[in-house]
Symmetry: C2
Subunit: 332 residues, 2 copies
């Protein structure tokens, strides 16, 4: 038999496990030109929350009573497609199913000898690509500049901070526990960290940790942390709006201080970023990331949850920051 | 004798004439290497309001009991500087004085045969340069795209809209009277206009006037008009934050809807712009503007107030939109 996770109801506020439905079906049979895939690792990511809303966005919303999809590494266990053979591993956007049929379109083979399977969902997957390509396209990091990162112990943030160090920046991270701060400094080489949960004045904490102001703010969270960063931004500062996890579960339109005065006065750039818009650059970006990993200049952390049945809870746990580094679910 | 306008008190909210002080002094005497200037035209601009606050910004605040400065075209009436001769006209940042001494540093000679003196404060001055250089650097206008402009009948906005038409865009302007809308369409060739004062739903009005959404929003006003534009922005939209006149007289920190969700979802760029950062590009930009004017593709409007004593009121009138096109004061 085959287990499938569908969207049962559109979450209101923080998603609940009961917003998802587990359905059991017959294991599918492979047809001509198709491959049968067995799910190995499932990526859970904050942006999936956006697809659970019924609003027009850059990618179509999940439909009720249909499977969720996300980044998945799977094994080809049966093939009637000449491009794939049994035992191949592939990476792509796939459904939350234990087993599924694919035409092979949109899937990339991954080399199990070069990196762990889960790394293809993290440092060599969309999260690593997000960090690398967004910095490359938008940040224009210069030696000696200050890079501030929120969600800094997360999958994207930890990679961003390390690239900042490779580029010669003063790197400061914002995260939600002292354990995460220690990880940022000890494992990822950040210069300084701020625990936003125990700081009563985040704006002041940023100005203390960034004595020369903030040249580039890499935002994964939005909200009051973004406000505090904007109040510390330097002339010609750049803000990369990569995510806004603090707002994804809001049920009312959030309000906050207006930025247009700062934008004009300090000629600040804010630029939203979605890695899917940059598919053509994935190849060279992965090569650079792989080289840095090989040279020991870039490392990564994973939080691996086991069991297909735990995918929804792992996803929900992202919003309380239970993960360090990339959150993945190991299925088989 | 010589009349001078000094900042008497830092304005709270909308500036009042009593925030300025008229002082009479002896007419200055030109020294070795200096020139004596007679003020012909004075530019009044919304950004001067920012310099009346005692806050660190891109340019140092005006000091109390010191003269205000702005863009001025003046005549050299006496010269002990070999670079200038009597009868030359110059353009630069000068004090609000009828007569003043200068070393000549930072002044550019202007050719009275090529354009009217006041045009060097408008279409061939910082306002024309602002429109041209900001669009050139940030907007990446493409044929068929929709360009929305606020403050559209003003000095910068009217030039922006016309450049948008030259670039083949669908151009929609927002202004504060039906007379201004008529000017935008009849004189400047805008495709459509919105009177924000008589529209009860500005967001809806934008979506009606921009059926394909907004690709580039050129913001001179900030506030609720910016909010409405953001709610109509297209994927990969660009927002040029050139000014925020609606906020310049605010005494409390303005709040509004948060934009980070839209920035991420639609990969929008917002970029603050100050023309002073781009001095190196002034030469080629003026050449292009002059060519378009000569070809009849670019025109301009001026609101000329007469009399040195009316400079403060002309400045204050900017905030109620009394000007059409560039507001200048003719002194002599």
């Amino acid at each position: 038999m085959n287990s499938i996770i569908k969207l049962k109801s559109r979450p209101v506020g923080l998603p609940k496990v009961s917003d998802f439905e587990f359905v059991t079906e017959e294991k599918p049979v492979v047809g001509e030109g198709e491959i049968l895939l067995k799910t190995k690792y499932v990526s859970v990511d904050p942006y999936l929350r956006g697809r659970m809303r019924d609003v027009k966005s850059y990618i179509k919303p999940f439909q009720l009573n249909e499977p969720i999809e996300s980044g998945i590494v799977a094994e080809v266990i049966s093939s009637k497609n000449t491009n794939f053979k049994e035992g191949d591993f592939v990476n792509g956007m796939l459904d939350w199913k234990e087993f599924q049929i694919s035409s092979g379109n949109g899937l990339n083979k991954v080399d199990v000898n070069k990196a762990s399977l889960s790394a293809y969902l993290g440092i060599f997957g969309l999260t690593g690509l997000t960090a690398y390509i967004s910095l490359d396209k938008i940040a224009d990091l210069k030696v000696g500049e200050t890079l501030l990162v929120s969600g800094a112990s997360g999958a994207v943030g930890s990679t961003v901070g390390q690239i900042g160090k490779i580029k010669g920046c003063h790197v400061v991270g914002i995260a939600g526990s002292d354990e995460k701060l220690a990880l940022m400094k000890d494992k990822f080489g950040f210069d300084n960290g701020i625990n936003y949960k125990t700081t009563d004045d985040i704006q002041k904490a940023i100005s203390n940790a960034c004595p020369n102001g903030v040249d580039v703010y890499y935002d994964n969270v939005g909200g009051e942390v973004l406000d505090a960063a904007m109040n510390n931004i330097n002339k010609n500062g750049r803000v990369i709006n990569c995510g806004a996890i603090s707002m994804y579960n809001e049920t009312e339109l959030p309000i906050g201080p207006r930025y247009e005065g700062i934008l004009v006065r300090k000629t600040v750039l804010m630029q939203g970023f979605l890695v899917r818009d940059h598919v053509k650059e994935f190849g060279p970006a992965v090569q650079q990331l792989a080289q840095w990993v090989q040279e020991g200049r870039l490392t990564y952390e994973e939080t691996i949850v086991e069991g297909f049945e735990n995918i929804p809870q792992a996803f929900i746990d992202l919003f309380s920051g239970k993960n360090k580094g990339k959150m993945v679910v190991k299925v088989y």
